[in-house]
Amino acid sequence: MSADPYVLRVNGRDHEVPDAHLGESLLWVLRERLGLPGSKNACEEGECGSCSVQVDGELVCSCLVLAASAVGREVITIEGLAPDGELADVQRAFVEAGAVQCGFCTPGLLMAVDTLLDADPSPDELTVREAISGNLCRCTGYGRILAAVEIAADLRREAS
């Protein structure tokens, strides 16, 4: 069942994926083949957003995307959000605002917020709520997450 090897470009680096079954999701390949477990698996049907990554800048649930369909595209995961090894603005904001409790939803939420702020540097509250409504969080009730998005938006505007 395994296909020819293919190459995935993830976080700015090319990864050869040998011996993979073509039906494997991007989430599976990231977590189990490329050693990038930061993207989480909580529902496997695109409802919770814990597995969110960016493919060519677009936010996707990696559990619903075939890995092989991402060949030739730029995949960014939570591990690549801050390429220089420091924390990115959204990551710093989440820590500072108390937006992290158990942390399982956090990587997916960070990818969603990063995507939002790239598209809209000054989103109003309803826009933020809608943008993260595909990311379930069971710990926080979203209050500190909304506060973190405000901080992150400020940081990004200051930096630009």
Binding site: C43, E44, E47, G98, C102, V128, R138, G143
Partner: protein, 758 residues
């Protein structure tokens, strides 16, 4: 847990300040290892075969076709369990693997280890089980009269609480029958773990759990091993909320690892998670309240039936809470409350945040509103006239000796100004993006609810937590088996150590069974008090020993010495030493911390069964679209009795997060069980609040009255946010619609069909 050093030159946050989580950075970086991220080069994958029937006899199990598959390393059934065939938190009544009968849909029957998850799936499909389905017992009201579905019988526990003058009658009486559906904890991180066989014939289990040591004891008994040969280490926990207090895959993983001699990893799917852990008990509750014309409560009568499902889990403690707190945080001189939890072929129920108090709060608060209506009195005023205070007696006969600022909590919440505006954007109306609501039809409602529960374990349970503190080269290390499940104990442990030892750098050792005694469960809002108390006591003992040693070495009066800012200094100013210099030889202490003892309930449900109580109020403002029966919760306001705030940011996180679970139970969350089968075991069909569903949560007040006997005066804060929030939201919907709405969650049909009736 995570080792985090505070950056040099910054003053580390102490108690009472919003110290950042030590695990915050790895969690945002994606490098924090959750239990589902564990990996071992030689590992196999495990899987579980579950019963498709809620009730059946097993005629035979043929594992042959599964064993024959390439890549399959083990297929195990009940016959392969070497020790106790059953386990359980309070009663050992749940089979590790079913042998002769299955009692609920999803009950584990066999487990498999194979080289790949796909092979595991094929192997599970290849196992042939010959079931003879039998009629399931699914109505909890019929359970006591029905034939027993388990050798232990169908009544798990009954408490018939009688308090005060049983002939008391109130001039005004109101009656109601209420129902609460089955709620799922719906933590994001599914059950998962990795078991590694050890050279001594034992096993190391890395698992997400709430209570390492009680897991260890249950696992060891089932494996037939001495507890020392079963070592548990806490793996990263993706939320818990009660659902990880019972064993799930623990014994299965260890059996497979010991059988194959290989590490074995298992991760439940979301669907399997719905079948693989206990839920919040569904409840049927009849109430009659008696009051005088001035609105003073005279007597409360109640009949409570909780559906425990197929196995006991923590049901007997849940019904104790439901019964003890059935009358709410009010002075009630006379009570007759019969609480029963029964066994059925429905999914097993057990611990969930609020633990029995959530269900009865929904009922007693509806009754208080009904009583206010009968009296023509403002519902907040009615509550004000009846709230408990220190020195008052509960319906269990116990006198509250600790703090009970119920009036303060109520008034702070009810009088807090509302910021809720009318929805300007159709997205913010009920139905949201569907844009189904006719703005002119939308009705707004508002209501307040009060709730309370016990902190820590009750009824004479010997509750303790152990911690080790060690200081060496100026760095403190704290070891405690307290399960960090997201609540932020790791932050508090560092804050406490810094407070007591005046030290900047505090490391946290991994939580595991091999290095320290039990910390007890991360439940019952108990870890700030119990493990916080253990860490405090261990650090204080280290401080005491260290200062005595310094005093002896340098000839200084020990009573003159203090630890502050990484230095030992004398109050007189004539001695000063760097902490690093005086701790090259380490100082270490281990302490076991206990709370004040409690008593069992007597045959009338009377006794000093609880240590302490915490109170909260919620005010909900809702918009209702009566045409479609859809609800938008517009605003929640809360106030809570917290004793003392140790970390304001984390405290707010608990209040907001707990309220979100209450909103879910009020308007959307229910495990739908039909003929014993779960119909909605997915996040597509079991809805939890999203960021569009959750309103802002206004914290009107954190009432700080230090609790005597509690370390730093702090009460646990995790559960009260989930207790009165559901009651407040449903009461606000009643206010908006004028409907009785005696059931939570409120379903669209409950509103729209009632509205459509002529």
């Amino acid at each position: 847990m995570t080792d985090t050093r505070v950056e040099a030159g910054t003053r580390p946050p102490r108690l009472g300040e919003s110290a950042p989580r030590p695990d915050g950075t790895p969690k945002v970086a994606g490098s924090f290892a959750f239990s589902s991220d564990l990996w071992h080069d030689r590992m196999l994958w495990g899987g579980t075969l579950r019963s498709p029937h809620p009730s059946a006899r097993i005629r035979s199990i043929d594992i042959g076709p599964a064993v024959a598959l390439a890549g399959v390393h083990a297929v195990l059934t009940a016959a392969d369990v070497p020790g106790s065939p059953t386990y359980g938190l309070e009663h050992s009544d749940q089979p590790v693997l079913a042998s002769d009968v299955v009692r609920y849909e999803g009950e584990p029957v066999a487990v498999v280890a194979a080289d790949h998850p796909a092979t595991v799936r094929r192997a599970l499909e290849a196992i042939v089980v010959d079931y003879e389905p039998t009629d399931p017992l699914v109505d909890p009201l019929q359970a006591e009269a029905a034939d027993p579905i388990h050798p232990d019988g169908n009544l798990i526990r009954r408490i018939h609480l009688r308090h005060g003058d049983q002939g008391a009658v109130g001039e005004v009486q109101v009656e109601g029958t209420y129902e609460v559906g089955m709620q799922d904890q719906a933590f994001l991180g599914p059950e998962s773990g990795l078991a590694v066989p050890a050279e001594d014939g034992g096993v190391d289990l890395f698992v997400a759990t709430q209570w390492l040591h009680v897991d260890r004891d249950q696992v060891a008994a089932c494996l037939g091993l001495e507890p020392e040969r079963v070592r548990l280490t806490l793996a990263g926990v993706g939320g818990a909320f009660g659902a990880r207090e019972d064993l799930s895959l623990h014994v299965h993983l260890c059996l497979l690892a010991l059988h194959t001699g290989r590490p074995v990893k298992m991760v439940y799917s979301r669907e399997e998670s719905f079948h693989g852990h206990v839920h919040r008990h569904p409840a049927r509750m009849w109430y009659r309240h008696h009051a005088d014309r001035d609105g003073r409560l005279v007597r409360v009568e109640a009949r409570l039936v909780l559906d425990g499902g197929a196995y006991a889990s923590s049901s007997s403690a849940v019904i104790a809470n439901a019964t003890c707190f059935a009358a709410g945080p009010y002075r009630v001189p006379s009570a007759d409350i019969d609480g029963a939890v029964v066994r059925t072929n429905n999914p097993p129920c057990g611990a969930m945040r609020g633990f029995g108090a959530v269900q009865t709060c929904f009922a007693h608060e509806a009754q208080m509103d009904r009583l206010a209506d009968a009296l023509g009195m403002d519902p907040v005023e009615l509550r004000r006239r009846n709230v408990l205070a220190t020195g008052d007696r509960l319906v269990t006969g116990q006198v509250i000796v600790g703090t009970a600022p119920v009036a303060e909590v109520l008034d702070a919440c009810a009088e807090h100004p509302s910021a809720a505006a009318l929805a300007a954007d159709p997205m913010s109306l009920p139905g949201g993006a569907g844009r189904t609501a006719d703005a002119g039809h939308v009705r707004r409602g508002e209501a307040v609810a009060l709730g309370f529960k016990n902190l820590l374990f009750s009824e004479g349970f010997d509750d303790s937590s152990a911690a080790v503190c060690r200081i060496e080269d100026g760095v403190a290390t704290v070891t405690c088996a307290c399960a960090e499940v997201g609540q932020g104990f790791v932050t508090l442990a560092q804050q406490i150590a810094r407070e007591v030892l005046g030290v900047s750098e505090v490391l946290l050792a991994p939580a595991e069974t091999a290095t320290v005694g039990s910390a007890g469960s991360t439940s019952a809002s108990r870890q700030t008090w119990m493990s916080g108390g253990a860490v405090q006591a261990a650090c204080e003992e280290v401080r005491h020993r260290l200062l005595r040693r310094v005093a002896e070495s340098y000839g200084v009066d020990v009573d003159e010495l203090v630890l502050a800012d990484d230095r030992v200094v004398s109050l007189g100013g004539d001695f000063e030493a760097d902490l690093t210099a005086v701790t090259t030889v380490p100082v270490e202490a281990e302490v076991e911390f206990h709370h004040a003892p409690t008593q069992p309930l007597d045959e009338d449900g009377q006794g000093d069964a609880h240590v302490s109580f915490a109170f909260a109020a919620h005010r909900a403002i809702v918009d209702v679209d009566p045409d479609l029966g859809l609800v938008k919760v517009v605003e929640l306001t809360t106030s809570q009795d917290v004793g003392r705030v140790l970390n304001p940011l984390q405290a707010v996180g608990q209040l907001e997060g707990g309220a979100a679970q209450g909103v879910g139970l009020a308007v959307m969350e229910e495990v739908q069980v039909q003929d014993g089968r779960i119909r909605n075991a997915s996040f597509t069909d079991y809805l939890i609040p999203t960021a569009l569903d959750m309103p802002p949560v206004e914290v009107a007040a954190l009432i700080e009255q230090p609790e005597p006997g509690a370390p730093f005066g702090a009460k646990g804060i995790g559960e009260p946010p989930s207790i009165s929030s559901t009651a407040a939201v449903v009461a606000a919907i009643r206010h908006a619609t004028g409907l009785d709405l005696e059931r939570a969650p409120v379903r669209p049909a409950d509103i729209a069909l009632a509205e459509a009736r002529p």
